[in-house]
């Protein structure tokens, strides 16, 4: 059975990766707004990697739960879930927004 501290650590792993991904994606959007598409693309790649790691941490928790190792789910874990979901959506949508900025700046060449 997992103790409280281990659950909290796993939650922090989910939150910090989700948060870093979300923050990075918004930085990428700021770059794209200024026309810095190369920097924006690089930052989006890093953002996606963070989101992937956050999902991985989340999946690990689900796996532990399915093995009966998670005794209870508290508000903090539900908060972690909130982070990973909103961050994943932010990264996905910001990818689209950057494409729009690119089209506005360079015209639709695709």
């Amino acid at each position: 059975m997992l103790d409280n501290e281990k659950l909290e650590d796993q939650g922090m792993l989910i939150i910090s990766n989700a948060g870093a991904g979300r923050g990075m994606a918004f930085e990428a959007l700021a770059d794209a707004k200024k026309g810095g598409f190369t920097e924006a693309e690089e930052k989006m790649r890093r953002a996606e990697k963070y989101i992937h790691d956050s999902h991985a941490a989340h999946s690990e928790l689900l796996k532990m739960d399915s093995h009966g190792e998670v005794e209870y789910v508290d508000l903090f874990l539900s908060h972690a879930q909130d982070h990973v979901m909103s961050a994943a959506l932010a990264v996905e949508l910001i990818g689209e927004l950057i494409d729009l900025h690119k089209i506005m700046k360079e015209g639709n060449t695709k």
């Binding site: 939150i15 910090s16 948060g19 923050g23 990075m24 918004f26 700021a30 903090f76 982070h83 961050a87």
Partner: protein, 96 residues
């Protein structure tokens, strides 16, 4: 030193806050910290010397720096996840 921690809602930084307090106590440091969300910092920042942001609000750094005129840093993702207070204190020393 008085530290203001900011994240999106103030919840995950409050976990970090606990760990930093514990570390500061163990080193007998003169240290005070509070964690707030993005909507709460404007009311309290005047009482603090330095501001550190959670990675999820890193993109607000310039705005917060301009609004507060205080030194602003971003907690590295790994330090945030592990609650590595020692690293964060080192980072703060470089900022001030």
């Amino acid at each position: 030193m008085k530290l203001l921690l900011i994240c999106a809602g103030g919840a995950s930084t409050s976990i970090l806050m606990k760990k930093m307090k514990k570390y500061a106590d163990s080193k007998d440091m003169d240290f005070d910290v509070i964690a707030v969300g993005l909507s709460g910092y404007e009311d309290v920042y005047k009482d603090y010397d330095i501001i550190m942001l959670g990675p999820q609000v890193s993109y607000k750094k310039d705005i917060i720096k301009e609004a507060t005129g205080k030194p602003v840093g971003i907690v590295a993702q790994l330090d945030y996840a592990l609650g590595n207070a020692e690293n964060i204190f080192k980072q703060m020393e470089q900022l001030t």
